[in-house]
Symmetry: C2
Subunit: 494 residues, 2 copies
């Protein structure tokens, strides 16, 4: 038995090495992609093009290194090496991503550059920049592309790496993507290509839809990239509130939802039943939750503001789904709907489905916890009864339940600790608590006059920006991938 598990694990580690190989390739592609903002800036004669040229070279260098490090196909990464590489990648990449901001002509400091880059790659979408309309196109494209790259990186990590590292109950997702062990590689390659194609395809469709909806080509491409990535960066200070056309928010709703669904399901639906997506338990739960919360907030907005019922519905639909899907676009300051701040803070913690670009806690964990709480309540009444915890109709081992509860516990502790750290620098209660939440969950906007839907993170002290950037990375890597490094055991007999 133990031997069988070990062999599986070795296969797993070898697979991780393959994945980093693929990521190395992706980086080289990214370096190539950096030519796009370079050309955009060259076209309008902005000297920022040189910045992108150097950034592209650096990215190319990192990609080549990764490729070489994993070139030996028989080399197997240990679990610890897998953790280190994952963490390193997510800490290094934002630093590379910050270069164009820092060296641009926009006078962005090192703190703001790194914050914006982390917020981009983790698809959080909190911004420290204002006056976006006056920015050169290259830098705006770069912001959107950071989110877009981050989005695909997150899907790959959620589908392939985290389940193998057994982080936060993600091992539950293992069966979905790698159920047949005899032909892992062909399937992995197939899945990676399929996911990539779906991602590009959805982005293109979204961009065309935005264009037809009345956006300029530039806005359409930028917003398509940040919508599918559930990121939330916009090319306008007012976010989606800038656009007049009433069809645009509905297009955004559709594609924010698309970005928050499990990408592996799209592959399953191709050539088979296109409705297979809606037969998935997590997707149903997610959509049901979205409908329910949109309904609740529609009533809320209608009762507490002078919006018409339809406008209340439209505003509620857009902003609720933007927060649940962890996108973070806004059209209005919903914190002015009497008392709704608490609800929006709680929605911050929902998140989309696993294997999507969405952050936060995610639906499958809530489904699991719901089944777990029911089983616990029933056991109180019938101490000798057997009440298994189930997910999507299958019994779930107590190992996975424990893993998910540990994740939730650590999530809470991290949120509290981050809130305290922020309040030490003098932020008020609502700002500290909501900034910590929105960073950890990779949503974007916080609450209150400073970091709320109509504010930015710009005015915060530098130390808080670094703390929040750390929070974004922690949340994005599902906490444990970074917290393993603080255990003495990790560094023992290395």
């Amino acid at each position: 038995m133990i031997n069988g598990v070990r062999i599986k694990l070795k296969v797993a580690c070898w697979l991780v090495a393959r994945i980093f190989h693929v990521l190395g390739l992706l980086l080289i592609v990214l370096a190539g992609v950096e030519v796009i903002p370079l050309l955009a800036d060259l076209a309008v004669g902005n000297p920022d093009w040189m910045v992108f040229a150097s950034a592209a070279l650096l990215t190319l260098f990192l990609g080549m290194s990764l490729l070489l490090a994993t070139a030996n196909r028989s080399h197997r990464l240990t679990i610890r090496e897998a953790y280190l590489l994952t963490a390193l990648l997510w800490v290094m990449l934002p630093l590379f991503g910050a270069i164009p901001f820092y060296f641009s002509a926009q006078n962005i400091g090192i703190t703001d550059a790194v914050f914006e880059s982390v917020s981009g790659l983790t698809t959080t979408g909190s911004t420290v920049l204002t006056g976006l309309e006056s920015f050169p196109p290259g830098l705006l494209l770069w912001r959107s592309m950071l989110q877009w790259t981050g989005g695909i990186g997150i899907i790959v990590m959620g589908v392939a790496i985290l389940p193998l590292l057994r982080v936060g109950g993600m091992q539950l997702m293992k069966t979905e993507s790698s159920d047949t062990s005899d032909k892992v590689l062909p399937r992995a390659k197939e899945i990676a290509t399929g996911i990539g194609a779906t991602y590009v395809g959805l982005t293109l469709i979204c961009a065309i839809a935005y264009g037809l909806g009345g956006m300029t080509a530039f806005d359409a491409v930028n917003h398509a990239m940040t919508t599918i990535a559930t990121g939330g960066f916009s090319t306008h200070d007012q976010s989606f509130g800038y656009f007049d056309n009433p069809s645009l928010p509905w297009i955004a709703i559709l594609f924010m939802i698309s970005g928050a669904l499990p990408f592996t399901l799209y592959l399953k639906s191709i050539g088979r039943d296109p409705l297979v997506v809606f037969k998935n338990g997590q997707v149903r739960f997610f959509l049901g939750f979205c409908f329910f919360m949109v309904f609740v907030l529609t009533v809320w907005a209608w009762r507490t503001t002078d919006l018409t019922p339809f406008n209340a519905f439209a505003q509620s639909a857009f902003n609720v789904i933007s927060i649940i899907s962890t996108t973070g676009f806004t059209t209005t300051d919903y914190t002015l709907w009497g008392g709704a701040s608490v609800v929006f803070l709680i929605l911050t913690f929902s998140g989309g489905c696993s294997g999507s670009t969405a952050g936060s806690i995610k639906m499958f964990r809530y489904q699991l916890m719901w089944s777990f709480l029911k089983s616990q309540l029933n056991r109180l009444i019938h101490p000798h009864g057997v009440f298994p915890v189930t997910y999507d109709g299958h019994e779930v081992s107590s190992d996975i339940v424990l893993s998910v509860t540990a994740f939730l516990g650590l999530y809470l502790v991290t949120w509290f600790a981050l809130s305290v750290a922020l309040s030490i620098s003098g932020l008020d209660f609502q700002t500290s608590v909501s900034a910590a939440a929105t960073a950890l969950t990779n949503v974007g906007p916080g609450l209150g006059p400073v970091i709320g839907p109509s504010g930015t993170f710009g005015p915060l002290p530098a130390i808080d920006k670094w703390l929040l950037a750390g929070g974004m990375l922690l949340g994005r890597l599902e906490l444990f991938t970074l917290f393993v490094f603080i255990t003495p055991r990790f560094w023992r007999d290395l």
Copy 2:
């Protein structure tokens, strides 16, 4: 095996019946005790004495009923009957306790009367009353006595009932109080008497100390009762801020801590090693946590206010220990210490030790969760290693770990739900979130200008007072004891 468990369970249920028998006796004693405020009001010629007379008769009636219902020594309560009786007792008692408030000459409405009574019996200490100095002595005594009675009720429930109902990991405490199964009854009686004597003894010593510290006899008795019960009702609007004598807060600190320690440990220390209390893992953890947080908040208060270092220490020590022990006395508005609100909100969730009068989450759950998180982190690095979760040096079954995590999860959900419910009525973010927290954890003061350390719950809308009273009961009964009633299974084949 199963049979063995069943027999143990039958013994357990029979024990629960015995406990309710004892509680019936306690109620009759309580009815007798109600003669005290009656006499106090008679002495100053306040007509409220008639109110106490009728309340005493009603309480006597309930006590006699319980006594008769459990008179048959061979009758065994089923688990469900045990839940029902526990819940009924805690819902009925506050209604009895509200009678004197409602019928008094102080013009207290039904909502406020019930809120004050629930806040008293659950030892929360949130108040809706102002102008306490002008109140008749009978009613002030009644408030303190509600807390004092609630306090001993909670210890009995925590030591004897909840471990048997296996609520929220309390089964972990079973071994402490009932490790020798061959002579359960003599031990139970002995323990009950011992705890009662300790409780009365500590209250007397505390009252004497307060008297020596400069309080009037009346204030000393009232504050002694609410200190040992970690309740926090005061006879003055300014709470402990009313008293000038610098030794009084230190006396309060000592006895708030005494009330938050496991009362069974006091028994173990009598006649044996008096220091056995400090050898207990939970007590050490609790004291260590208190010291650490007092230190942190001392530095905080010193840096953000113009307090001298010693005054910062004194204010920090009193208010931090008041919140951690879930007492809720205040000497100053600590929310004015720049950004400290978040810390005090988090401290609300700490709680004292199990088997004490303290509410909230309590230390043993944090110790268990700490060990659990460590084991989970280690398992991520060594998937085949065995990393048991331990408590006080002993391995803990995954059943108990799951039970505690379910408790924490439900705690969070209840907190969030209560916050949303409060914000619907229009309370602002900070008030909703902190009112829900302080009710659920039975601490007392919230945050913000209305319900903060220098405010009261009086101005809140009536619906919110009922919601908060519900929250106090939920927290006091460790959630599951009430949530069990919403499972369909509870009502099946009854």
